[in-house]
């Protein structure tokens, strides 16, 4: 088995680098999906997120699809309808330095920053409110992280370490999502108590600064 986590800091690890972090909103209505195009273009103009932001891809025509995507060199970020909610997925593409928990934590920070920007976005008139009490981790690399219990067990400690940093406590649990084995390994992380985006960003910031 190839090591999923590389425990040396400041080193671009050969371990799991491709993964996604997904947050979901509370039920929301009256959102014009086309606004995400305008919003993401504006984010590129002012480089509103970390990373090298490049372009916007409009996939609203794809049924049950990916909605509107902000493409960057490092990651894709897309917002799509998910029943009567919206999900925001941050998909890491390029290698990051640090341990796996650090990489997950860094990705969560970018995803949460995007959530916060959308919550405050004037064009959306406050229609989106994210529920960060739960988020999903998706391993986007079947060769390194096949979707099975064994991989989950191998990943669990690193995920727990990352989640503890995000929530600022150990009061959460992780759950392997049993689904079609051809799909990617997905783990839900859920805090025991309600939290908000700002609080989690603060936790990560504190953790990153020691």
């Amino acid at each position: 088995m190839i090591a999923l986590a590389q425990q040396t800091e400041d080193y671009v690890s050969p371990g799991l680098q491709r993964f996604c972090i997904r947050f979901t909103t509370l039920a929301s209505t009256n959102v014009d999906d086309a606004k995400f195009i305008d919003i993401f273009h504006a984010w590129i103009q002012r480089q509103a997120l970390p990373g090298i932001l490049i372009d916007v891809a409009d996939y609203r025509h794809v049924p049950d699809g990916l909605g509107v995507m902000l493409v960057s060199h490092d990651a894709n970020l897309y917002v799509a309808p998910d029943g009567n909610r919206y999900s925001l997925t941050y998909q890491r593409k390029t290698a990051q330095p640090g341990t796996l928990p650090q990489r997950i934590s860094a990705a969560a920070a970018v995803a949460l920053t995007a959530c916060q920007l959308l919550e405050r976005e004037q064009l959306l008139h406050g229609a989106l409110k994210f529920d960060p009490q739960q988020w999903a981790f998706v391993a986007n690399d079947r060769l390194l992280a096949p979707n099975d219990e064994a991989t989950f067990h191998e990943l669990r400690d690193d995920l727990a370490l990352a989640a503890a940093g995000v929530y600022g406590s150990d009061n959460f649990h992780t759950e392997y999502v049993h689904q079609d084995p051809r799909e990617r390994l997905t783990v839900n992380v859920r805090a025991a108590k309600p939290v908000d985006v700002r609080m989690l960003l603060e936790n990560i910031r504190k953790q990153q600064h020691g």
Binding site: H41, Q45, D58, H61, R120
Partner: protein, 758 residues
């Protein structure tokens, strides 16, 4: 292990590619050579790969981490690219579908795009990931070799082959044999440009699009000595691109055993005599036009005689009648369920009764040819349940499931609907085809996909997909003149162009009428004018409404348009072509699905420049009128001579308009115009297209030099196309000159983006 599932030959090829990639990273291979190496593996560049992007207000540098490292001329290493994956004649297995879904999810953006040539494309791919991706594809028997580059591209075939009610015989084994024979063949490695091949089982339908291919075969049989023999009506020298050419008949009946040696001989003649230096004239259509079909045929047949006998030419023929696919023995469901909502409409547009009793094909409608990884994986499961490995990609960018038991249709539709793939409207007016356009293509001028999505939504809302009268009417959109969206072939076609109005750029589409989708793309449409992009849905509605209102019994759309004439069709749209000022309607100044202002930099208008601009505008507008008149000569008078004369005049008028920017006193004498155009715009390269170089500038000289030649109707048609392209290039040149002359001014307060900034 992945390696155990890859053939040694494929494995070696990919290892070699990976080594080349590493050497380029180390600077040990020239960037131009590496570009061709990666293109031949299907690894393409994508929009913004020069490291710059206009964000609506200014051009920003994209700070890619590998800095100045290039993967081709002016193409940054780290810039996301496109991976094209060849799927010969569009035939896929479920195992292949699953791997494609996986790699799209892991290396791309989880969207797979089906192309009009039965390929699959993934976008936003890092070049560093391509070797791994190629290995995973190779493990399920897919190679990306020669998916791009100056090589034999994907061999396409009618997706109904083998189950079609009208075909002469199943062309699948012939498509397969040709694809395998020419893949990597030593005689097909030295072309000046790409070479595309297609096969069709009949001449009446459009499934194979033979007439627009470099080489195409239509199935034929002939009785020889009392025995029925198979062969092909073989065509060469067709192609779309900027100037479409109908393929020429090479042989009325080429016996099957001569197919591969003839293809090989054609490849050798093309490699030897085809243009190599000037890309714009390097497709085989130009060689066939230059030599004439008779001389080309003579050379090929002579070449064929010199070839050394190759067992591969015929070794496959004995098995052409072996069934390449088989149905499930029994329907998947023994307990029929009631139809889901929308079944009746879906059955009407998406189900086709096979010639084999009790079986049907089912089209899976993919808006703009896009499907998610998850959907593709789920579709593979559905295919296993209902049809085994009998799946094809269609040239209309859908999937086709073959050998569906008729009793399974209702439950299959229910299953497809559950994964968002049960939409009706396949192969109908709402099934709009579009190339990638400005979404991802470097050459895109306007948003073809954005327009196609808008049209689809608008026409489906009117339920036009069910209208029997519109059954054979297609809409196709290209983001530029290069025809990747096959705009020439549709009854209503569009290609993207830009216009400069009072210093602002406005996305437009040229409207083409007169194409015929059926009959293997036998008739090409011509432009009647350019309409702002945002007004195209209204354009389509006007055309269709009038057709539905005034058509005569059984009159096809193209026949109706021919009856009312292009002059009248243009008059119907005239008001839509007039663009209000930016302050009056800023919505026209941005493109579909893009918040950015279309202009490249906000441009101010000085009074002095304004007068000069109006002179140039006037000249180009006059040229537009003349080229339209040339079309009318073609359509109404059938006068090739008058049409070519008018087309040449149109080019001269456009050139004169541009010259007026520098010399308002330019004479009307053609010789003077040409001389000044050469000095001021050709020698200075001012007129040159950023991508096509001198291609369009040369058209005017060629047209003038051949003005005394008696034109055929085909040449006249080409001249009209060339005049349109020259005028488009004049518009573009004018826009570039304006930008260079004027200083940027602050962004418009109306800019949409301003309000987005918190």
């Amino acid at each position: 292990m992945l390696a155990d599932r890859i053939s040694p030959a494929l494995s070696e090829e990919i290892d070699h590619y990976e080594r080349q990639l590493r050497l380029r990273r180390q600077g040990k291979i020239d960037e131009k050579i590496f570009a061709e190496i990666r293109l031949r593996r299907g690894v393409y560049g994508q929009r913004y790969d020069n490291g710059q992007r206009h964000d609506g207000e200014k051009t920003q540098d994209i700070p890619y981490p590998s800095g100045d490292l290039l993967k081709g001329p002016n193409t940054r290493w780290d810039a996301p690219g496109m991976q094209r994956i060849k799927i010969p004649f569009g035939a896929l297995t479920t195992a292949q579908m699953e791997v494609l879904a996986d790699i799209a999810e892991e290396y791309s953006d989880a969207i797979l795009h089906l192309t009009t040539r039965q390929d699959i494309q993934l976008h936003f791919v890092s070049i560093d990931d391509t070797p791994d991706m190629h290995r995973r594809l190779a493990a399920v028997g897919i190679t990306t070799r020669e998916a791009c580059g100056n090589a034999v591209r994907n061999v396409t075939g009618c997706p109904l082959a083998g189950v079609c009610r009208d075909e002469v015989f199943d062309v699948t084994p012939y498509s397969k044999a040709t694809a395998e024979f020419l893949l990597g063949h030593r005689d097909a490695q030295d072309f000046g440009r790409k070479f595309k091949i297609a096969f069709s089982g009949c001449s009446a339908s459009a499934c194979g699009l033979v007439f627009m291919h470099d080489m195409g075969g239509i199935a034929r049989t002939r009785v020889v000595d009392g025995v029925e023999k198979r062969g092909f009506e073989l065509y060469v020298g067709g192609g779309l691109g900027a100037i479409p050419h109908q393929a020429k008949l090479f042989d009325e009946f080429l016996p099957e055993e001569h197919l591969l040696p003839t293809a090989q001989a054609i490849a050798r003649v093309f490699a030897r005599l085809g243009e190599k230096r000037n890309r714009a004239r390097a497709r085989i259509k130009f060689l066939v036009a230059k030599l004439g079909i008779d001389e080309f045929r003579r050379l090929v047949l002579k070449e064929r005689e010199t070839l050394q006998e190759d067992p591969k030419w015929t070794s496959w023929i004995s098995s052409v009648n072996d069934a390449s696919e088989s149905p499930r023995s029994y329907p998947a469901t023994s307990d029929p369920v009631g139809p889901a909502a929308g079944f009746t409409g879906w059955e009407k547009t998406n189900v086709y009764g096979q010639r084999q009793a009790g079986f049907a094909t089912v089209s899976v409608t993919l808006p703009l040819g896009d499907i998610t990884s998850r959907q593709l994986r789920q579709l593979a499961t559905i295919c296993r349940r209902y049809v085994k490995d009998t799946i094809r990609i269609t040239v209309e960018q859908n999937f086709l499931l073959r050998w569906v038991h008729q009793p399974d249709l209702a439950v299959l539709h229910r299953d497809l609907s559950e994964i968002g793939l049960g939409e009706p409207g396949a192969h109908s007016i709402v099934d709009v085809t579009a190339c990638p356009g400005t979404d991802t293509c470097k050459l895109g001028i306007a948003s073809s996909r954005g327009l196609a999505a808008a049209l689809r939504q608008r026409l489906a809302a009117k339920q036009l997909q069910y209208d029997e009268t519109l059954k054979d009417l297609r809409i196709k959109v290209s983001g530029c003149f290069n025809s990747c969206g096959q705009h020439h072939l549709a009854e209503i076609g569009f290609y993207g162009v830009g216009r400069t109005i009072n210093g602002y750029k406005v996305p437009h589409f040229r409207v083409l009428l007169g194409g015929r989708w059926n009959a293997n793309a036998k008739a090409f449409g011509l432009s009647i004018g350019a309409v702002p992009s945002k007004r195209i849905p209204e354009t389509v509605e006007r055309l269709i409404d009038r057709y539905l209102r005034e058509r005569q019994a059984h009159e096809h759309f193209s026949e109706f348009m021919a009856r009312i004439g292009k002059k009248e069709a243009k008059a119907m749209l005239q008001d839509l072509m007039i663009v209000p000022a930016h302050d009056v309607d800023p919505s026209l100044y941005s493109d579909w699905g893009d918040a950015r202002q279309f202009t490249i930099g906000d441009i101010g208008v000085g009074e002095c420049a304004g007068q000069v601009v109006s002179l140039a505008d006037f000249g180009i507008a006059a040229a537009e009128d003349e080229v339209f008149e040339a079309q009318l000569f073609l359509d109404e008078d059938a006068s090739a001579r008058r049409a070519t004369g008018k087309a040449l005049n149109a080019m001269l008028t456009a050139a004169q308009g541009l010259i007026k920017l520098q010399n308002p006193d330019i004479a009307d004498d053609p010789e003077v115009i040409l001389r000044e155009f050469r000095t001021r715009f050709y020698d200075t390269e001012l007129f040159f297209d950023p991508f096509a170089g001198s291609k369009f500038a040369r058209l005017i000289f060629q047209a003038y030099d051949s003005r005394s030649k008696e034109p055929t109707s085909e040449l006249a048609r080409q001249r009209v196309e060339e005049a349109q392209l020259f005028i488009e290039a004049a518009h573009a040149c004018h826009g570039r000159m304006l930008e260079a002359q004027r200083k940027p001014r602050p962004a418009s307060p109306d800019a949409i983006l301003k309000s987005a900034v918190s």
